[in-house]
């Protein structure tokens, strides 16, 4: 299963908001409930961000100094500098105080502010995951509604089958196959050609060239979730009475599909799209590793090996908060889009 543009949802699951809003509840109460839920989640993220990574095995200072010439003074200095000589409660207090100031701490490994490390890589990660997500969503939704409309046709079987095959392929393996097949005409890694010093249009073309293979790999392993969601949602709509009405009004099949069935079938995909948006920033460790993309996914992976506690905490808090916020937004948007959920 892919870990790129991750979603907790299997492709066959029909997607609905995580917890169904209570029909008839007032908008204010609905908002308050959702906001409170999000706030509790954020609080949990903050607490978990600190304690979860301290369960990890490995003393950061020992693993950073193992196998090289260091004096005991140097080890003691590092402990002091990292604040690891303090009791856990004091460390937690300092972490909370820093967090309220928007300070995510300083990475042990890179010796740089965590917020800067994240900011430096956010752009390239979003370029990769965003491009892949847009293509994947458009492709998946388009193929999904076509497949449903021509249910059990050759087209339906072929597109669904192909999508599921790609969904099941390990990303790493697919990425390496793409590298073997297209490496050469297209770059084998990175985001820009070293030493090229391109600017303007040449720079855009250079980045686009580097983007082709990683985006292709990500799209291939992710578009199935949109396709399957859209397909099942569309199948449900196809038996609805209002389509018969539309046909009775004289609309042709394409018109019935695009004007009536698709807009309704799109509703359940809203949640999955928002969840995708929430996960964009987290990057895609596998794709970034295979194609040497300078992104956040790999940064997190790197942080785990030390373990670089501030970097782990920082990335965890930022990524999780974005997911929580996006889920909250999805709940709101869903309510706006679907009149059935509004107060009776």
């Amino acid at each position: 299963m892919s870990d790129a543009v991750p979603s907790a949802l299997a492709p066959h699951e029909a997607v609905t908001p995580s917890d169904e809003p209570i029909r008839g509840a007032s908008l204010g109460r609905y908002l308050a409930t959702k906001a409170l839920g999000a706030a509790i989640s954020l609080l949990m993220v903050v607490v978990l961000g600190f304690f979860a990574f301290r369960i990890l095995p490995g003393d950061p200072v020992l693993s950073m100094t193992r196998g090289r010439m260091v004096t005991p003074e140097e080890i003691a200095r590092l402990r002091r500098e990292f604040g690891l000589d303090q009791p856990l409660v004091v460390q937690f207090g300092r972490y909370l105080a820093d967090l309220t100031r928007g300070d995510l701490g300083t990475s042990f490994f890179y010796n740089a502010p965590v917020s800067r490390l994240i900011a430096e890589r956010a752009g390239s990660t979003l370029l990769l995951t965003g491009t892949a997500a847009v293509i994947s969503i458009v492709l998946g939704l388009w193929l999904g509604q076509r497949a449903a409309w021509k249910r059990n046709s050759g087209f339906d079987k072929a597109t669904t089958g192909l999508a599921l095959v790609f969904w099941s392929v390990p990303t790493f393996w697919l990425g390496l196959l793409l590298l073997m097949a297209f490496g050469g005409p297209l770059p084998t890694g990175g985001m820009i050609t070293p030493g090229l010093n391109a600017t303007g249009f040449a720079y855009v073309v250079d980045v686009a060239r580097h983007l082709v293979l990683p985006v292709a790999a990500m799209v291939a392993v992710t578009y199935a979730q949109y396709l399957m969601t859209m397909r099942s949602s569309m199948l449900e709509e196809m038996t609805a009475d209002y389509l018969t009405t539309a046909r009775a009004k004289g609309l042709n099949e394409d018109g019935v599909r695009t004007k009536h069935a698709v807009p309704n079938a799109l509703l359940p995909t809203v949640t999955i799209i928002f969840m995708t948006l929430g996960h964009l920033i987290g990057g895609a460790i596998t794709v970034e590793t295979v194609f040497s993309w300078p992104g956040l996914g790999y940064l997190t992976y790197q942080a785990l090996s030390a373990p670089d506690l501030p970097l782990l905490q920082g990335t965890f808090v930022v990524f999780s908060s974005i997911v929580v916020i996006m889920n909250f937004l999805a709940d709101l948007v869903y309510r706006v889009l679907d009149p059935r959920l509004k107060a009776a």
Partner: protein, 604 residues
Amino acid sequence: MPGTPRRRRRLTALLAAIVIGLVPVLAATPARAEDAAVLKLAAIAEIDSFNPFTTYLATPININRMQFESLVEAGKDNEPVGGFAEKWETSPDGRTWTFTIPDGRKWSDGQPATADDAAYTLTSIMTNEKLASANGSLVSNFASVQAKDPKTLVINMKAPQAGNPGLEIPIVPKHIWEKQADPSTYLDEITEPVVGSGPFQVTKYVKEQSVELKANPNFWRGPAKIGGINWVYYKNIDAAVQGLKAGEIDLVSGLTVAQFNALKNDPNIATSNGAGRRYQGLAANPGMTSIKNEPMGDGNPVLKDPVVRQAIFMAVDRNTIVDRVLGGYAKPGITEVPTVYKDYFGLPAGAQERPFDIAAANKLLDDAGYTKGSDGIRIDKATNKPIRLRLMGRNTVPEHSQMADYVKPWLKQIGVDVTVQMVAGSKVSEDSAVGKYDLYFTGWGIGPDPDFQLSINQCASRPNKDGTGMTSENGICDPEFDKLYQQQHAELDPAKRADLVKQAYQRIYDSSVLDVLYYADQLEAYRKDRWNDFQRQPSNGGPISAQNSYWGLYSASPIGSSSGNVGNTGLSTGAIAGIVIAAVVVIGGAVFLLRRRRSTDDRE
């Protein structure tokens, strides 16, 4: 609205045509657009900074070897040769080292390089604890450092020292570094070309993407034959191999055996297995104690008996491991010093190596009274329990689990049951430091001078009970070893010192706490259609990159003018194929659209 679907179909076809039409544009851009004479290497590991005072990671250290010379460099055969200093003298008591920096030496920015710069560098490490993080241990025996005049640098030692104190400490230009508000963060980012004395200097660093170096015109041995070096970032070695095949990069180091063998058949690529500087061993916990002689960790007490440890090591066949796990690309190990340091390699003359002999190992254990139980597992005579040991290794190092697959059945044959535990590298580091192991796979990279590696086996280098304090390599305390360590530390006669070093290593060898299994070759591959003349270190069979000095990359020369493959500005085969496909698709699409339109019109 009958026109809508048709318009959409047309739009779709047009989009597809545009996308496919982009292929040749994307593919036609030259893969190598820069000047020919730039050597491109794959950088696989992380870079935190180029600050020579603080970075301890392999890639930036290798890059800094190109930028900053030490007073003394490791020569083509790892012998001490002139670097920043031309020559040196040692006082008869080994307490005073005097280095001479010749007239006319210049930094890459043209400023004179003098003893003042060296004194500034060394004093900074001694006095500023933040600047001591990478090389603090190398100056711990320094009492004072003084630039007597621009040509003369004097280092006074606290205790006599035989190992050359000028090795391994990069010297930086005082006129640049003293201006920095916080020198410990300087060169974390590259905002201007670095000033150094080595053959190449970093001019540009794009994080996680590339490091560009240009040749130093003022390098005292003469400018390099190439314009520069680029380290190109790859996050996995398989992609780097594809990059090498595609010609995007010129040299990849750290290949796996499978990759190395596969590249042998490529007509444009040469492979090189240079003797490595790292040992890989199997450590047995002899009952680790802290610096205050308190017992530490949870090692199986049966391992306190040296006979048991010896029998275990006699049941491990180093040659089979070299052949089967390393594909033959390694040298079987003896002591911790690898073959590349020929002066210190091996046991002293006349000493016996431990044989691989399972029958003899069984006899040792039989004679010592460890009888076998009904299941074939021997019983620890002290505790009356079957001998069951844990074998720990890193789950990120494939060789560890592969070796465990051999070690487990071998030890079964001598009646020792083994449970294999492959865990995170950080856990191995932490547990081994506090003696929480029975057996584990360990390894260290070894520098040209043996002093440090020996020093971490002294009684005084054992840690505190909680793992803080000193680092001990094998957790031993042997007064005889300590005496030999001190003797070699002060012995100025190289031949006598080498013998003392070997004797010290023999103490570790005979105590059976560490079985050095092999020294793995450094597996490298490079574009032989573009490059040759790489100086190896050591010159006979050493590696090309990641040397103890700059020889390999400094000596690189491009093959003829054609090598240069001055950016293949022509279109590649792939690009031409792309253009043809795009043309067919665009024309086909247009024809399709026209036909479609006509037929729809007809229907209407």
